[in-house]
Assembly symmetry: C2
Homo-oligomer: 195 residues x 2
DNA sequence: GTTTTTATTGACAGATCTGTCAATAAATGC
DNA sequence: GCATTTATTGACAGATCTGTCAATAAAAAC
């Protein structure tokens, strides 16, 4: 996918326009203009708006799953795995803020993704994270009196809000802030907010 | 607002259609049909699609702010205030799932709300919650080594994911599950996930 | 009881936007 | 060098959807 130069330009333009205007307000003509190609070429390479959006979203999920599967098998502590998950998502924001923005605003909630396939993608995301939580419970690191999917919701929910704040404020992420964010989330999630 | 019977029918229909199809895919004709009134009447009472949506969303925020302001002044422990916030949102889901669904899928993230006013609404929501967190820190209940807005993000993020799961799965909420959810979130947020 | 305001209707014009297509240029195969 | 496939273009038809409006019915005012 996208070995071709113009295909990449179209994807990049789509990333930018989807991010700026949202899926519903994105015009194929805008993408073509930003990409610097003709209207018809977008349809030549990608079938249409929905397909183009799907290519982007599927790429996002693929990378996310890959990371989570690697962490699951990785030979580090559960706490380190959780730190890696937060770090991965923050790094993605640094590297491609547009993509993270689309995930947060269009995929993570947006009515665009209320399909069976969209739901399946989400379930996989949650399930992979839940495996790590279960592992943490079995190893005696995480408490067992709270269901593992509750731990998953709370953990991923926390990350999502941090990402949302970055996205909505179009803020940039310094290395220092990255570390502070990871530590903040981990500290509260693992040890609690109690003094 | 909406003292009139037909106005209420239009609002109810809008709630249903916005929830089912999302803002972008909602047709004014659908709302009119579901409400059982003519196309033109929707424009007579509400100026247009955006206004109608705003009426719904402003109502949501108004209630949310009211609750948070009451909790802030309330004479209970900080933990109880946090429990009340979760309880309030879960109750709203029980009472008007369509409204919560719209909040989660369209307002909380959706590109529809990436405006200055939308951002201001959100800031207020976060600020009011942060006041409670600060209060908790001053009273010695919450840890002071994590900035209060971090505590806010993690707390509200956790709630949002629980609501999202309810909304996406169109699940109903029993009293028992309501209590379990409140306890789960509070337990992990206050005491941490560590065994 | 007449006038004025409000409620209510559905057709319509205007404004988009998408996806197609026929035409042309470039590249590739043979 | 000719034929076939691939790249590229922009205009256009078809399909929406929104908001307006003129017309009619009902209610209120006086």
């Amino acid at each position: 996918m996208a070995e071709n130069e113009k295909q990449e330009m179209i994807i990049d333009a789509a990333l930018e326009v989807f991010c700026d205007k949202g899926y519903a307000n994105t015009r194929m003509a805008d993408i073509a203009r930003v990409a610097g190609v003709s209207y018809g070429l977008v349809y030549h390479y990608f079938g249409g708006k929905e397909v183009l959006f799907d290519v982007i979203v599927e790429g996002w999920w693929k990378d996310l799953y890959k990371m989570l599967e690697a962490e699951e098998l990785s030979d580090v502590t559960v706490q380190q795995k959780l730190e890696h998950i937060i770090g991965f998502l923050l790094d993605r924001y640094q590297h491609s803020p547009n993509l993270v923005s689309i995930f947060i605003t269009e995929v993570s909630r947006g009515s665009v993704y209320h399909t069976a396939r969209g739901l399946a993608r989400f379930n996989r995301y949650f399930d992979l994270t839940e495996k790590i939580m279960k592992d943490g419970q079995e190893k005696g690191f995480l408490r067992k009196d709270v269901p593992p999917h509750y731990l998953t919701y709370i953990f991923l929910g926390a990350i999502e809000v941090f990402l949302s704040v970055l996205v909505l404020g179009k803020e940039s992420l310094t290395d220092h802030r990255r570390e502070r964010t990871i530590n903040g989330i981990i500290q509260v999630f693992v040890n609690g907010a109690r003094a």
